[in-house]
């Protein structure tokens, strides 16, 4: 089979401005991958599927990966003017400090595709794509029009990671129920506050129940449910 470099060269010859990058893999497995630009991903994927030499007709695996915002602490030398009392006189002196600055590297969601060829019996060729960020620009092109095997797997990535696949024919949640709001496979996912339901909650349980409703945003603090039997008339 062709090496990753040869595949990259073949893609660049076939799809102009494809902008394919090779992603290194320092681990022992040595499975390197190709990062695609979402704008050209479909054209590149179509080439990989239909090219006579590669013929990657079998999309085996679709994976979502979450890379949250990374806080990077860096030591920087900073020069500042400070007022110091030298020999009893106040003076402005320039001094250099070492300071730790925090920089935030924005996070993104990634989707990884493992391609094989059934016709030529080779593989894997690994493709990856990144979203712009993790919040509002999470669209990536769907591979389902090219490989049907992506249909359920992309639905799963949409469900568990929140990547929106444009061009997917039936993008719904796969494993969680439709009314579910969050994406549980994200690294910063917080499980909903779990409290035992009691029809006549009181004391500790009632406090937790009220806090839960307020935290979940279903009611405001004033409207937090007060547990009492409906229609009992007590306290009205």
């Amino acid at each position: 089979m062709k090496t990753v470099e040869e595949i990259k060269a073949a893609i660049e010859a076939a799809v102009p401005n494809a902008g394919v990058e090779i992603v290194a893999n320092p681990s022992v497995s040595g499975q390197r991958s190709l990062r695609l630009r979402p704008s050209h991903a479909l054209a590149v994927a179509r080439f990989l599927r239909d090219d006579e030499e590669l013929k990657l007709d079998f999309l085996s695996n679709v994976t979502g990966v979450d890379w949250p915002d990374k806080q990077i602490a860096e030591k920087v030398m900073v020069t500042r003017t400070v007022t110091r009392t030298v020999d009893g006189v106040e003076q402005a002196v320039e001094e250099t400090f070492e300071e730790t600055q925090k920089r935030v590297e924005p996070g993104y969601l990634e989707v990884v595709y493992h391609l094989y060829s059934v016709a030529k019996k080779h593989g894997p060729v690994i493709l990856r794509m990144r979203t712009v960020n993790r919040t509002d620009q999470v669209e990536l092109p769907s591979m389902t029009p090219l490989w049907r095997s992506a249909e359920f797997q992309e639905r799963e990535v949409f469900d568990l990671y929140g990547v929106v696949f444009t061009g997917h024919p039936d993008l719904r949640r796969l494993l969680m129920w439709d009314a579910f709001k969050d994406h549980p496979m994200r690294r910063d996912y917080v499980e909903p506050d779990d409290f035992e339901y009691e029809p006549t909650a009181h004391d500790e349980v009632m406090k937790r129940a009220q806090a839960h409703h307020v935290a979940a945003g279903t009611v405001s603090a004033e409207q937090a449910p007060v547990a009492r039997h409906e229609g009992s008339g007590a306290g009205q």
Partner: protein, 391 residues
């Protein structure tokens, strides 16, 4: 045009959309929600079916009733700690799940596997394949109405194999047996003798099973020409395992990747030529025969030596940052594990490629145009376990 021809034409024209059949005739459509507790669904699984009289014109599978976010749990615990949890994916075939996971971690860390362990893995993997295929055929026949007898024949044999598993690993199903670099405990000579005895009895069982079933008129009438899956669609939809080979595509990962020591064994890959439910049933029977051949070779050649690689580290290791995808030919299809390491003691990303879920992609295509009674058969011929579908 018969229902089958409609399906063939639909699949040939375009495997994308729209994927439903227009109702013919007058009257209303009937929407049926099959499951999640229907006896034929092998667990908790639901199909939303739209019927025109008895004919299926739309079918949408609904998943997630057994979802416990296995992948998220595995990301929070060490590499070794996920091993017993993989038993619970496809609980009919825990040993092949162990194997696939061990293979992926070995790829990630560059761990060698001891020779004796490789043989033991092949022996256990093929025993697993036989008991999986036997019971899946048994379930299929049961769904056809033969309640009991064929399934009990299959389970009698499965029980013998599970006894072997229990003796070696301590558990019939939740085995937690394989380790990175080998297997947890060694097989005694007495165990190998007993395994040889069980394997010697298997051809007789397959003969008996075949005699009982293959020529059965009801089985042929119900299965032949039902649930056709074209090879182009099967490959495009990522279908693997006996399902893919029943569609006539020669793709067996044991041959293609030759993982473990499979390249040393002689075996053939049976292929279907009618692409229907009957072919899937036959492929499983024939694969059992090939597995018996592999078992005989492996049990003859198994060498002595340690069952774990002496340099193996099974706990407390931190793989270099990077990723690995390892896959095996599990009884149900391609079972893969994709691991990303960030240099920590836990996997940063742990992904299971479940053959059961991906083989269901084509369920609707196979069922369109058939009667609702055939949906049960077609679904049974896919051979799924919900523990793996929903993870």
């Amino acid at each position: 045009m018969s229902g089958t021809e409609v399906v063939r034409e639909k699949q040939a024209a375009d495997w994308n959309r729209p994927r439903h059949i227009e109702p013919d005739g007058e009257g209303e459509l009937l929407e049926v929600s099959m499951g999640p507790h229907h006896p034929s669904t092998h667990g908790v699984f639901r199909m939303d079916v739209a019927l025109d009289a008895e004919r299926v014109i739309r079918l949408k599978p609904v998943f997630g009733y057994l979802h416990r976010n296995h992948e998220k749990i595995a990301e929070g615990i060490s590499y070794l700690a996920s091993m017993p949890y993989t038993d619970r994916l496809d609980y009919i075939c825990p040993l092949t799940n162990n194997w696939a996971y061990a293979l992926a971690v070995e790829k990630l860390t560059g761990q060698e596997v001891s020779e004796r362990a490789e043989y033991l893995r092949v022996i256990l993997g093929e025993l697993t394949r036989i008991q999986n295929h036997a019971s899946s055929i048994g379930f299929l026949i049961q769904e056809m109405g033969a309640s009991g007898t064929p399934l009990m024949y299959a389970f009698r044999e499965r029980e013998k194999i599970l006894d072997l598993f229990e003796e070696l690993t301590g558990a019939r199903m939740m085995v937690n047996y394989m380790r990175f670099g080998g297997c947890r405990v060694d097989a005694s000579p007495a165990w190998l003798d007993r395994a040889r005895k069980v394997v010697a009895g298997l051809p007789g069982f397959v003969d008996e099973f075949e005699q009982l079933l293959t020529g059965n008129e009801i089985l042929m009438a119900r299965c032949q020409g039902v649930g056709i899956l074209r090879p182009e669609l099967a490959v495009n939809a990522g279908v693997t395992g006996p399902m893919l080979r029943a569609s006539g595509v020669n793709y067996d990962i044991r041959k293609v990747d030759g993982y473990g020591i499979y390249s040393r064994f002689k075996f053939r890959v049976p292929l279907g030529d009618h692409w229907d439910v009957y072919d899937r049933f036959m492929i499983r029977l024939l694969e059992m025969r090939e597995s018996i051949g592999i078992l005989e070779q492996a049990l003859k050649d198994i060498p002595g030596g340690p069952v774990m690689d002496p340099k193996a580290r099974i706990r407390g290791f931190r793989p270099k940052p990077g990723e690995a995808y390892g896959r095996i030919e599990a009884p149900k299809g391609e079972l893969g594990f994709y691991l990303i390491s960030d240099g920590g003691p836990n996997p940063y990303r742990y992904r299971v490629r479940p053959p059961s879920l991906i083989n269901l992609t084509v369920l609707e295509d196979m069922c369109l145009g058939h009667d609702i009674a055939d949906v049960v058969l077609i679904f049974g011929s896919v051979d799924i376990v919900l523990g793996e579908v929903d993870r």
